[in-house]
């Protein structure tokens, strides 16, 4: 008995050394630098926004800015932005996933994978005026592809109703940086799919599709969801591309914010800040949905 006791005590002691008690303050050290950084450089400016949202141009306290949020044109701006963000996040997510799949599980040559990764790195940030112009040069009325289609294939895109300067044209343009982003984010997750699992599944008689449905995708889902929420945020906050391509005609919330804070005409930064606060709220709601979905997908993973 005593031998057993001492054995157990020894084990417990060793265990404690290897795993410090979870009540120790030391637990928090790991995240302190990040929180200090976040406090100084993210939360402080955010509080500035929040404070500014309650101020008029002259500096007095007001709730009028928040009341302004409920104007129909502004609500519609939020809605259009959410729509385009969801669209490009989902489509970009799908396309990006398929491409990442091709170079990882799909066993394409290593050179292709390396090129894709670096290319995605550049493309994921090729946005703003150069991207807008690139798409104008490709699919605008005098764009290269438009002209080739017209002259070679006798296909007049614009006569058929296509228009680059529309919701779908803008989405097409956004996808240029959305799906490389997906590729970059999801590749490590796909790498993490062990060969042993698919082999084990095969040994047990599973078809590939069963393997994917029951093993691989469930494992990947939390990461996929995480990547998609990132894509959503990326599109939600995009400004320069939309402004250059559609001249503010498509009512996106970032453009409305911009017109209040920058520019030459309207100048109501208080309203701009209130709009930004609204954006934070939308983001928070989307993240809440994301957490819910992720928790459901993660619940049986050994975490």
């Amino acid at each position: 008995m005593s031998k057993n006791n001492s054995f157990l005590t020894d084990q417990k002691r060793d265990a404690r050394k290897a795993r410090p008690s979870s009540n120790s303050w030391r637990k928090w050290i790991g995240v302190v630098p990040f929180f200090i950084f976040a406090l100084l450089f993210i939360l402080l400016p955010s509080v500035n926004i929040l404070a500014g949202a309650f101020r008029t141009n002259a500096g007095r306290f007001t709730l009028a800015n928040f009341a302004g949020l409920f104007e129909p044109s502004i609500l519609s701006a939020y809605w259009v932005t959410i729509k385009i963000s969801l669209t490009t996040a989902l489509v970009g997510g799908l396309l990006g996933f398929l491409m990442a799949y091709s170079v990882t599980v799909g066993k394409l040559p290593k050179a292709v994978r390396n090129m894709l990764m670096t290319f995605s790195g550049v493309a994921s940030n090729f946005a703003g005026v150069p991207l807008a112009f690139a798409f104008i040069a490709t699919l605008g009325r005098t764009g290269l592809i438009t002209l080739i289609l017209k002259n070679v294939l006798k296909l007049n895109l614009y006569a058929l109703g296509f228009n680059l300067y529309s919701f779908w044209g803008l989405s097409l343009t956004y996808l240029f940086f959305q799906f490389p982003l997906m590729v970059l984010i999801i590749t490590p997750a796909l790498d993490g799919l062990k060969k042993e699992w698919s082999e084990a599944a095969e040994n047990l008689g599973a078809t590939r599709s069963l393997y994917w449905r029951k093993v691989a995708l469930p494992i990947l889902t939390p990461s996929i969801l995480g990547a998609i929420i990132l894509l959503f945020g990326n599109s939600f906050g995009a400004y320069a591309t939309a402004y250059s391509l559609t001249g503010g005609f498509i009512n996106l919330i970032t453009i409305v914010v911009g017109s209040q804070i920058k520019g030459d005409i309207l100048y109501n930064p208080g309203l701009g800040y209130a709009l930004a606060v609204g954006m934070v709220i939308v983001m928070a709601v989307m993240m809440a949905i994301y957490y819910y979905l992720r928790r459901k997908s993660e619940r049986w993973l050994p975490r």
Binding site: F167, G247, G263
Partner: protein
């Protein structure tokens, strides 16, 4: 965890409310006291000296060694040459911030840098005419009267010297004549040949250039200086005719042929024409029935870290040399009439400046600000909502 989050959020909100409530009182109308400029009182009989260095000011400025400017694209009114000449002449380094900025950016930058003496704080700003009263109201500029003050027309400057007009331009069509037939007047914008060919060079809710285009359209298409709505109606017609492309036009989109007809300040259009040098051919045409002029104004920041350099910069810009540099960039310098009378404009420069004998409207500050609000508020509802899904 939920409780902590809730607590944190409510703390944040309370903190923010507190911050906003005890926001520092808006600066009073008069800016901080500044010593009278070392310069002598405004002009006497002697011809306004071109760039006769006022030794004290120059010395003080050189001691400061730096000037920070903001939102000055190098090709706008030939600012590039102005900056380079100033640098070479006085040996003062120039920090160029935010070349793409608009007037609101410049004002925000002054406000944000109130306590900052570093190179992010603008010393001087160049903003739209309509912003003049706001600059004084918000107390962000300090007064200064350049030595050539008297030759600046009275309606283009603040009598106390807080802001002063620097140049103006006239709204014109910039046309890629290789690709399209050149329109001569407003009505030509409605022609079916121009389907999908016309664009504005900005968003009328954010860009003064675009907004003045709408204002100009208003004046000569059934409206007037105080009746702006017809401008919106006009562009609605252009849009309905399918001639309007809703993107922000620039030199590149004109050259590409994507937006071969745009409305721009003539100095920008002429600069484009020079730069593209026939590749493609650009023509600059004033709408025959009339157009509008846009004045810009200069001011020195009340919190300028380099006030003497700022004043020297103003002296430079308002000297004959400085004004001629702007003239080279196709802008109408504000002292043009005076300089012409004294014959100090080189012949080749005045030959380059295009002549337009049609009506040119010069709206007042109030009229501009009034038009601003109407156009910005109504643009989307009257002309817009053309979101093809």
């Amino acid at each position: 965890m939920k409780k902590t989050a809730l607590l944190l959020i409510s703390l944040l909100v309370v903190f923010a409310l507190a911050l906003s409530a005890c926001a520092p009182k808006p600066p009073v109308a008069e800016p901080p006291v500044v010593e009278e400029p070392a310069v002598e009182a405004p002009a006497v009989e002697e011809p306004a000296a071109a760039v006769d260095p006022m030794a004290e000011l120059v010395a003080a400025a050189q001691k400061e060694g730096n000037l920070t400017v903001i939102a000055l694209p190098r090709d706008w009114c030939n600012y590039g040459e102005a900056i380079d000449t100033f640098k070479a002449k006085y040996g003062i380094a120039v920090n160029e911030l935010n070349p793409d900025g608009g007037s609101a950016d410049e004002i925000e930058a002054i406000k944000a840098n109130k306590d900052n003496k570093g190179p992010q704080a603008p010393d001087v700003i160049d903003v739209g005419y309509g912003f003049g009263p706001q600059l004084i109201e918000e107390g962000i500029v300090q007064p200064y009267k350049v030595s050539t003050w008297d030759s600046i027309p009275a309606e283009s400057k603040d009598p106390d010297g807080y802001w002063y007009g620097d140049y103006y331009g006239i709204m014109a069509f910039e046309v890629n004549s290789d690709v399209v037939e050149v329109p001569q007047d407003w009505a030509d914008l409605l022609k079916p040949e121009l389907k999908g060919q016309f664009a504005l060079s900005g968003d009328p809710r954010a860009s003064a250039q675009a907004q003045m285009s709408v204002y100009a359209a208003a004046i000569y298409n059934g409206g007037g200086l105080d009746d702006v709505q017809p401008g919106l109606e006009f562009f609605k017609q252009v849009n309905d005719a399918g001639n309007f492309v809703p993107l922000i036009a620039k030199q590149a989109t004109v050259a590409k042929g994507e937006t071969p007809v745009i409305l721009r300040w003539d100095y920008n259009a002429l600069a484009d024409k020079d730069f593209l040098a026939g590749n493609p051919n650009i023509e600059v045409v004033y709408p025959a029935s009339g157009t509008i002029a846009g004045i810009y104004i200069q001011a020195i920041s009340a919190y300028a870290p380099h006030p003497n350099a700022a004043k020297l910069w103003m002296e430079f810009l308002y000297s004959d040399e400085g004004q001629n540099i702007w003239l080279k960039g196709y802008c109408h310098p504000i002292r043009y009439a005076d300089m012409q009378a004294r014959g100090v404009i080189p012949a080749e420069l005045s030959a380059k400046l295009p002549v337009f004998n049609g009506p040119v409207a010069f709206p007042s500050i109030d009229q501009i600000n009034n038009a601003k609000m109407i156009i910005a508020d109504n643009w989307m509802s009257v002309v817009g909502a053309d979101v093809k899904e």
